[in-house]
Amino acid sequence: MSRLKLQQICKYYGATTALASGDLLLERGEIHVLIGANGSGKSTLCKVIAGSVRPDGGTFELNGKPVMLFGPQAAREMGICLFYQELSLANSLSIAQNINLYHLPTHAGGLIDDAELNKRAEHYISKFETVIGEGFTPDAPVAKLRPDQKQLVEIMKTLASEAEILIFDEPTSALDRSQVECFFSILRELKEEGRSIIFISHRMDEIFDIADRITVIRDGTTVSSRLIEETDHSTVIRDMIGEQPEAAALEASLAPQAEKKTESCLVAEGLSGAHIRNVGFSLAKGEILGLGGLHGQGQSTLLRTLFGAEKLQSGTLLLNGEAVHPTNPRAAIKNGFSYVSGDRVRDGVITGRSIMENVSPIHFLKDKTFLAFPSVLARIIEPALGALNTKYSSLGASISSLSGGNQQKVVIARWLTNPPDILLLDDPTKGIDLSAKSELFALVRKLADEGMAIILYSSEDGELLAHSDRILVFNNGSVSRELLGEDKTRFNLYEAAYSGAQ
């Protein structure tokens, strides 16, 4: 009898399907790895098991008995504890308080027993003694810790539950090699004790190091579950990609085999900053350069750094042969850069203002006009919006009256009033619908054909493969591989993104 048996678990958020049909069989004393592309539903499945997300359907059996969980507390009582990918720590509380938050040890009178609190925390801290780094005392506040140390606290908090089923959702994403080794040796001990462990990671070598069984999830559906002896890297990657004939055809047909563009307008060497390390590339006029890899490997940071919104610590940047140093967006705009973020609400839309006001700021900045006459502005703004087939009732209407896709078009139109030389697209299609996407990319291609240089980061791999001339695959802040021509396939992209991860 399996310890945990999930069948056809599904979960919907409005129109998005987070999980379509999640199946999982978890045995006693095994380390069970879940793998799948970003957004495939791994975390959702884990949260269902840990009771923090209520499934919309499917069966859930614990030790052969069907159960219904009403919240994380109920799951804890049944011996299930989850390491949350986004962490579940209280920043201003101490390490010891965080580790023991669920069961705060008390004296007979009901007051907290500090000695016992620290003793219990020490017990778990000591397991990581050699790798925790400085300032890791039980009474230190979590807020002051480094990201890897916070992750270790969340690991300790999960271990402290002493639950029979332990789930770790990307616990190693910020850890270094020695910390991972230490964690893995603890996992192996737990396995010997007969505990069941679910482990998620995007690092292929780690997975093959620790797994007893690998289950692959694709688009919210469990597609395969194999013992480690029966599988290998490429089988796993193939399961993750699946058969996608129409997508593959699309990629092939759209893959632009344009003539070699040689006139490079932007050359970067050894760019380093907060989340990027030693990034170099050259970008030609009329080229669309794609940035690929797992989420958050430095792609957005690179774009924001080029735009002067993030600090560049070292490296050189040549724009048409002249050295430039991006210090702030204003200077970057004057140099001919433009930046479109997928996070419209944070970076793009000026909420509560009219469409006209949303399109005009770059025009004002570049033309230094003192007075603004709506009739004159309209002559500049309307063609820019028209080029994108933006649907709007009038220029005076509020930006919030538009759909997400049309709002994004307005944000892009902002740059078209005074066309830039270099367009930086930071996941520009986040949350916009299919037709808007294809219109957008048609325009991007048109701009490139007119000679604009474009860097595109997209979290959707299909988009990236279909619309870029060349792809730089990012890993941990640096470029691990360049894909061009024949090599520009989904398989190679995944392999570079996953296998190269360290």
Binding site: A50, S52, G71, P72, Q73, A75, R76, L82, Y84, L87, S88, L89, A90, N91, S92, L93, Q97, L101, Y102, L104, T106, G110, L111, I112, P141, K157
Partner: protein, 325 residues
């Protein structure tokens, strides 16, 4: 160099354990300024006067803290105070001022405070309404009940009541004993698991929920504690003014919020100390007495008081920023 760093980090650790340290410094400063402006303000008699006038605000601010811990707010504390004030005065005058009646009235007062807190908790946490608007609404409701209980101000409290509050034992004013009891109570409460859980909820409700805490229930407890402290504050007001007034607490609500902030508790929740709020309340009291002693003309007193509070707030923010850097 390293010495300076370790000093700074030691200060930061200290500040984290005792977030009220900047407020304590400010309190000292105001004491000294008061003493300079009017040496007589340092006598036991004058101190007793300040203490008995502001003890109600102290209790009210302490109560407010437990709600602010979870990033909520309670704008009905003043109304609860008024309701408890008129209720106990009416009970005592209905049944006579015997000691057992006084005790009964106090019990009833605490029950009323707790019930009001429970109502706020259910509205905010159970029904998920915005704390600031929901408690504003309940404050009007509670004031309405207070006006129904006692439509006009002025019903006197029995002499036993204000004699105990204003009297002395062993030569020491009784209010000082009340302060000592409050400090002991706060020291004990700070060690309860509930305070740690309130702070955890304030740090992030989702994280707290995911950690297996019953967030809804914990927030309701915060409001109940706040209601009980508002009742205790009402006892102080009743002892100080010796009468019932259905509108007595209205102006104190926002002072209690200011005191909480002055005491180093973040309105965004998750960090702070109830003891700091007590100090913050006394700071507000000392500022008004300083403005009075410094001889500020009456038409300028509000302006001077407001400006001083702003300055003190700013100094507190600067101090903690410098240390935490």
């Amino acid at each position: 160099m390293t010495k300076a760093i370790s000093f700074k980090s030691r200060m930061a650790t200290l500040l984290r354990r005792f977030p009220f340290i900047p407020a304590l410094g400010m309190l000292m400063l105001l004491f000294i300024l008061n003493g300079i402006a009017e040496p007589n303000s340092m006598t036991v008699r004058a101190l007793k006067g300040v203490a008995s006038t502001y003890l109600a605000l102290v209790f009210l601010s302490v109560g407010q803290t437990f709600v602010v811990y979870t990033a909520d707010i309670d704008l009905s504390v003043g109304a609860i105070l008024s309701l408890v004030n008129v209720s106990i005065v009416v009970i005592m005058s209905q049944f006579g001022g015997e000691p057992y009646v006084v005790l009964l009235a106090l019990g009833a007062g605490i029950a009323i405070g707790a019930l009001c807190g429970l109502m706020n908790g259910i509205v905010v946490s159970g029904l998920r309404m915005q704390a600031i608007v929901a408690t504003f609404a309940t404050s009007i409701l509670i004031s309405g009940i207070a006006l129904w209980v006692l439509p006009v101000a002025g019903m006197p409290a029995p002499s036993l009541f204000w004699k105990v509050y204003g009297g002395r034992s062993y030569g020491i004013p009784n209010v000082f004993f009340f302060i000592a009891i409050l400090i002991a109570l706060l020291a004990i409460m700070a060690k309860t698991g509930l305070v740690t859980k309130l702070l955890a909820v304030g740090n992030g409700q989702l994280s707290a929920y995911q950690s297996g805490l019953s967030v809804t229930r914990i927030r309701i407890y915060g409001y109940i504690i706040c209601g009980i402290f508002a009742a205790l504050a009402a006892f102080c007001i009743t002892g100080d003014t010796a009468s019932g007034d259905p509108l007595v607490g209205g102006a104190m609500t926002l002072s209690s919020v200011a005191a909480v902030v002055l005491g180093g508790t973040a309105l965004s929740g998750g960090i702070g100390s109830a003891f700091g709020s007590a100090i913050g309340a006394i700071i507000i009291g000392l500022i008004s007495s300083l403005v009075f002693y410094a001889g500020v003309p009456s038409q300028w007193q509000n302006l001077a008081q407001g400006a001083t509070i702003l300055v003190v707030l700013m100094l507190g923010v600067l101090a903690s920023k410098r240390i935490n850097q």
